[in-house]
Symmetry: C2
Subunit: 206 residues, 2 copies
DNA sequence: TGTATTATGTTAGCAGTGTCAACATTTATA
DNA sequence: TATAAATGTTGACACTGCTAACATAATACA
């Protein structure tokens, strides 16, 4: 039954790569096992992805698309502070639940987004969600909006990184939980909504 | 002249690894080339580092030690807001100037710091610099200090990540600089001190 | 001091990787 | 229908992390 041509290999490779990257981390992914998983020869993926980085770019792009959906805010309703807080929480949840994919999106595995225009567009579009919500909050200039937006994004992005480190250490709990930044991070994670509410208020009323 | 035993191989391997990791990124580092660089056989490094991850841990540890020095604030003098701003700027500069090492410190290459107690201690000690400076600013409870501290750290850490992405894209300038988060990030980078001053004020007076 | 132990180095080799060149087959196009 | 393009396969190269078995030097101890 199996024909010489697969028919839908590219998409199947991407789907499979997304699954494996999220399950095992992108460093564990090999093109060869990916090909085997799709029942195709070792080098077949090279007809669709010039390099491994190009494959990573596709996985990262998929990640940004999912992130956009996850943090989406209905633009019809007027945006208020609570919605921004919600968005921040959803962002952090996405980062923690899709930790390995998040690495690919914000790490250095894909060196230069500009080499992958589709990825760049998906990434920018994710940010645009963020920005447009912010822009409805007050009558700020574009520059002020950019300022506030980057501030919040940086903090939320940074929190994901720090909470993840804390998670790993806490999961293995081999250290004194009284010491170090990890314990502080865990404190905050336990009270994330309040924390974000305060910080976001601070940024908005800046 | 060259004796069978190297004499100082472990330290030389670490130094060399730090150099190469920072120059080419840790993904490009191979134990074999590292050994060659030190004029020693392919497998000699395994007498000093059980796995490649253990080597990464040493490089990361060195990074945290350097970070501690870079952001160090003289504890004799009473700490004021300007010093916190300075510290934040030095942190960001460190992250941007030692971008590849920074990846190793805060990425996932070393999965669990608790497996490398010396690394964990260096990392915690870096944070302690941050925290103790903060604690002198006001008479806050430990919990409030932890809160403020993590907030600032997350933001500063997140900024490093985002500014780096912006840098790469800007360096290659293949995209419309009017669109996307990158341009906003560049705006802020050009005015980093003012930006941080505002944000830090917001956090302190929270 | 002489010997046993440990630390540190070497060689050879396995299984796995990204990538390329050459070739095969199917699909699209003129 | 002939030709070109797309998509697949096989085989191979150079490289990787890592292990086992062995060699030599430094150290500890009788």
């Amino acid at each position: 039954m199996k024909s010489y041509h697969h028919g839908n290999l590219k998409q199947e490779l991407i789907d499979c790569a997304c699954r494996l990257c999220e399950r095992d981390g992108y460093t564990k992914l090999s093109i060869r096992t990916l090909a085997k998983e799709s029942g195709v020869s070792q080098t077949a993926p090279y007809r669709h992805f010039e390099t491994k980085e190009a494959l990573y770019a596709s996985v990262a792009q998929d990640g940004f698309n999912k992130l956009s959906k996850a943090i989406h805010v209905d633009v019809d309703k007027k945006v208020n502070k609570k919605q921004i807080v919600d968005m921040a929480i959803k962002y952090i949840e996405f980062g923690l639940k899709n930790a390995n994919t998040y690495d690919l999106m914000f790490g250095t595995a894909v060196g230069n987004f500009a080499e992958y225009p589709e990825l760049l567009e998906s990434a920018n579009s994710s940010y645009e969600n963020f920005r447009s919500s912010f822009s409805q909050l007050a009558n700020d200039s574009d520059e002020v909006i950019a300022f506030k937006c980057i501030t919040l994004w940086s903090m939320v992005h940074g929190l994901v990184g720090i909470l993840r480190k804390a998670q790993v250490v806490a999961d293995n709990s081999m250290v004194n939980p009284e010491a170090g930044p990890m314990s502080s991070a865990i404190l905050i994670a336990g009270n994330l909504e309040d924390h974000l509410d305060k910080v976001i208020s601070g940024i908005i009323e800046n």
